[in-house]
């Protein structure tokens, strides 16, 4: 009886495929630049003498969010699923999965006995690892610029006051908020077999549908509006509250979360896992029965 290929070897292959292409590095570079640019803009704004009548406490809270240790944790919020992270993940997952069809490389692996389940699992495993890399990118870029600001304003870096355990946990919590977007885009890529469709639907959902859906739900009764709490972006906001209390003030994109009561972080985290599993189950169901024509 022939033994199947090991999942470890498939993961190594997927990792090599990912690191060999420019997409991941370009995304990391763009994300780092955006994080630095957004922080820099906020720093410049706070340096203005006239802050449009903001109360002193609010100004001080914003300044704190730009200094270590708060700044380090707050920078993670840029990468969460409800913010920039969802867009980057949609592009990455869409390209990684769908291009295997368009380049006919999926034939290459399946026709030599790589099981479909193992293939999909290895693919998603490496996408999940890439999400952690994207989150680490925001941490490093945000940490660098807020570290520089801290050094500039206080003359030293308070290494001893940084809650390193929370920082590490924050990286994984932020990556968790990205997983449903990756799973959803993976499912679309398998169903459509098209890079363009997968990325368009993934980015469109992250950028427009979630925000629009949330806004529209707000127009209805409070009971209907509560449905918005179950959108991945709102669940991400809930989870990110446990990472940084300053996160909301640093976030870009949707503001609808402010008006919708969020679920408990633990419940939100569990739902994010559930959404991810549903996305993967759809991808697996489609891939399992798929005819792949030569």
């Amino acid at each position: 009886m022939t033994t199947p290929f090991s999942l470890l070897s498939l993961l190594r292959i997927e990792a090599r495929k990912l690191t060999g292409r420019a997409l991941l590095w370009v995304e990391m570079g763009i994300l780092a630049l955006l994080v630095v640019a957004l922080h820099a803009a906020l720093m410049v704004a706070l340096a203005q003498p006239d802050l449009q009548g903001l109360p002193p406490e609010a100004v001080e809270a914003l300044r704190a969010s730009l200094r270590w240790p708060d700044g380090l944790l707050a920078s993670l919020s840029f990468a969460n699923g409800g913010e920039l992270g969802g867009l980057f993940v949609a592009v990455l997952a869409g390209a990684l999965v769908a291009q295997e069809y368009t380049r006919r490389t999926v034939h290459f692996w399946l026709s030599r006995g790589v099981g479909r389940g193992a293939y999909l699992l290895a693919k998603f495993g490496v996408i999940a690892a890439a999400l952690v890399l994207l989150v680490l990118t925001t941490l490093v870029a945000g940490g660098a610029i807020t570290g520089g600001y801290t050094l500039h304003t206080s003359g030293h870096l308070p290494w001893g006051t940084v809650p390193w355990g929370r920082v590490v946990a924050g990286v994984f919590k932020t990556a968790l908020t990205l997983l449903p977007y990756a799973a959803f885009t993976t499912a679309i890529a398998v169903l459509s077999r098209s890079t363009m469709v997968a990325i368009s639907v993934g980015v469109g959902y992250s950028l427009l549908v979630e925000n629009l859906a949330a806004e529209m739900l707000m127009l209805f009764s409070p009971a209907v509006a509560r449905v918005a709490r179950y959108l991945p972006a709102m669940l991400a906001k809930s989870v990110m509250q446990t990472v940084s209390s300053q996160g909301a003030s640093m976030s870009v994109g949707t503001q609808t979360g402010a008006s919708a009561a969020l679920l408990e972080p633990a419940t939100a985290g569990a739902l994010l896992v559930l959404y991810t599993l549903i996305g993967l189950a759809v991808a697996w169901w489609a891939f399992r029965g798929q005819d792949i024509r030569a």
Binding site: I13, G20, S111, R112, G113, V114, G115, A294
Partner: protein, 246 residues
Amino acid sequence: MTEPVIRLHNLHKHFGAVRAVNGLNLDVAAGECFGFLGPNGAGKTTTISMMLGLLWPTSGQVTLLGQNVTPQHTAVLRDVGALVGAPGFYPYLSGRENLRLLARLYPDVDDRRVDEVLAQVGLEAAAARRKVKGYSTGMKQRLGLAAALIHRPRLVILDEPTSGLDPIGMAEMRRLLRELADQGITVFLSSHLLHEVEQTCDRVAILNRGQLVALGPVSDLLAGKHDLEEVFMAAVHAETPSVQEN
């Protein structure tokens, strides 16, 4: 008779109303170089895709090396080398890197084997170091063949392997296929090039509209005929199949 290396039993594949493969039965013995012929749209690539677990058969069974193959059961394909249609590679990696990526599947395939198989298919070291996005069709075809052979498979399934090759490349391919057969490796060769099949294969099957219309040793089919082209034309235009079981 020993168990066949390839057994297709009452194999059907329908795409909606189109019956691409319609009740195909075929046995290929170990060490044979077997030619699989047919006009465009006859169902050759569909059959090969089912053999490689890429398509679900509508009904019937594919058995390779004694094990059933479906898209859900493909472990036996680890011992099979295949080249189907235009082979796909990662364009941002070199030819050699693509093979090294593939080699990670097989613990017994090292860099020396990668270089050996590249030389075997005539892909020079300098070309192998170039990114695949700059390859010609013929170079991709050679790399595809290298990928099919890298793990020293017991069975090689090739769909139009000479597509895109120049006459020298075709002659080299014929020599390589004969070498494989001489080493006891079973070769299943689908091709439009009848002369190539006539020179290379021991037995041939001719498929038309998803059905087998001729099967037998090349020498038997050629009896009373000028060449394989005449056999082919007669078979695809005949009302009754000419199947000789050995």
